[in-house]
Symmetry: C2
Subunit: 287 residues, 2 copies
């Protein structure tokens, strides 16, 4: 893809970091940012994440080769409606949302035939939010999941893949449905559980918590609005994930009720070993 | 307490760190270590955690002013039987176990009237185990919970409190029952949940996990044998904690099923705020 004009819709932590990273890799690409708060756009310009701030969605995407949706997930419908009439022929649209079925469905319905949509989930971020935390290297070595469908344009998929790789990411492809089910298990459920672990505590117990509790609940410190949207958008999968966690807890409870030390040890060791293997995998990925 | 002879039974991460810290603070205290593996004792001597290695429990505690049980929790009964006949008058015995009801009950039954037992839970450690990870500063600024009972000797309680403070710890007192119930909520349950979160994963989902999953499950990497003992010893409380987590998850599930974005946001924000307050508290404690 000859990327001469990049449009970033929503210039927070992710949008800002995309701007910084794209600017460092593409010297002749003009980057336009759009957001509903003027001061965020000004700040994004000051730190060099965007060249230009647009006042409305139409101007923001006009002539853009690639448009990246970085607003909250539940605003995607509105944003897609707002840009549909201003996309140039062969414009490619992608996003950074944590759920993929809904945006893929919306894009298929709302965007014109002369533009292409490819869903993306760059798995980078932090519990911090806002363009002031944007970093050029936020995406370095992290994984980006692309969710093309049977009706996706093959060249557009390749172009979006190349874009994330340019920003330093590893990429893989999944269907939107597989993505949402897998992420419910490894990301959305752990977040809900972390929040539940905090909310269930009595103050007199919580003041005794150590480093383990703080680690286990760190993700509960994330942005409530962002996570509300994820949970509402992926509710069916999240409920299925909760059901599977309940079954794992049933198994554990059965072992301590039966005082089966041997099987309990095996259950605990299996978790430790699987996690250890995952840590090794991550170290290999990042090497 | 005039501590001239300290006996450490079980010289792993905690026992070794107690030796190192006590040696750095008490120049004229002789430290004897006991353990079932000769090479561990040799290593403990090499790193300076103990002055002397004892071959049997009787020799290990002979003439000791303070004895600290650092073996796995489920071995405490055996160890207490092994030392009961060799304790000098007014010897003080304590422990580092993560559960307190059982050891307090055992000590009351097995130790002679001329010795005193005071339960301790120094909340320091790491997912690492073994004397090779022992550190002089492991206890610095961490909390030690003492669990005296109505029949505890007041002077012995004060002496044990002073010992942990000498090692740099903050201290507080609770009943053994309150301790075990609170720790089930803030420590044992989070560990079980972390292991369940790993064990429930399908491989194709787990390979997509990010930093949040690794943080949320870090405690599942702990020693399986140690944790098996904790879960078996505190099974009733752990089951009650699981029941309360299930109710918190019920509440969450109810909110996403009802698509109640406002209450869901409030539930998530409450967790984030309570955790943030806890982090601030910890920073104050450690300042």
């Amino acid at each position: 893809m000859d990327l001469k004009r990049l449009s970033i819709l929503g210039v927070g932590l992710l949008g800002g970091s995309i701007g910084l990273a794209a600017r460092s890799k593409l010297s002749d690409c003009h980057i336009v940012g759009y957001g509903h708060r003027r001061e965020t756009l000004t700040r994004a310009q000051e730190i060099g994440a965007i060249h230009e701030a647009a006042d409305n969605l139409g101007d923001a995407v006009k002539d853009a080769d690639l448009i990246v949706l970085c607003t909250p997930v539940l605003l995607f419908g509105e944003v897609l409606k707002g840009i549909a009439g201003s996309l140039k022929p062969e414009a490619i649209v992608t996003d950074v949302g944590s759920t993929k079925r809904s945006v893929v469905e919306l894009a298929g319905r709302l965007l014109p035939a002369h533009a292409s949509f490819v869903g993306s989930h760059p798995m980078a971020g932090s519990e911090k939010r806002g363009v002031e935390f944007a970093r050029t290297d936020l995406f370095e070595n992290a994984l980006c999941i692309l969710t093309p469908t049977d009706s996706s344009d093959a060249q557009a998929v390749t172009a979006v893949e190349e874009f994330w790789r340019l920003l330093g990411m590893r990429t893989c492809r999944m269907t939107p449905a597989d993505h949402d089910a897998a992420l419910a298990d490894v990301s959305h459920l752990p977040h809900a559980v972390a929040a539940a672990l905090v909310n269930m505590q009595r103050p007199e117990a919580m003041r005794l918590s150590g480093k383990g509790f703080l680690d286990a609940t760190r993700i509960a410190g994330g942005d409530g609005g962002l996570w509300r949207d994820i949970f509402l958008d992926n509710a069916d999968n999240v409920r299925a994930s909760i059901a599977r966690l309940r079954r794992a807890l049933d198994e554990f409870e059965g072992l301590i009720r039966a005082r089966d030390g041997e099987k309990l040890r095996a259950w605990l060791d299996a978790a430790a070993a699987r996690r250890e293997e995952l840590v090794r995998e991550r170290l290999r990925d990042e090497a």
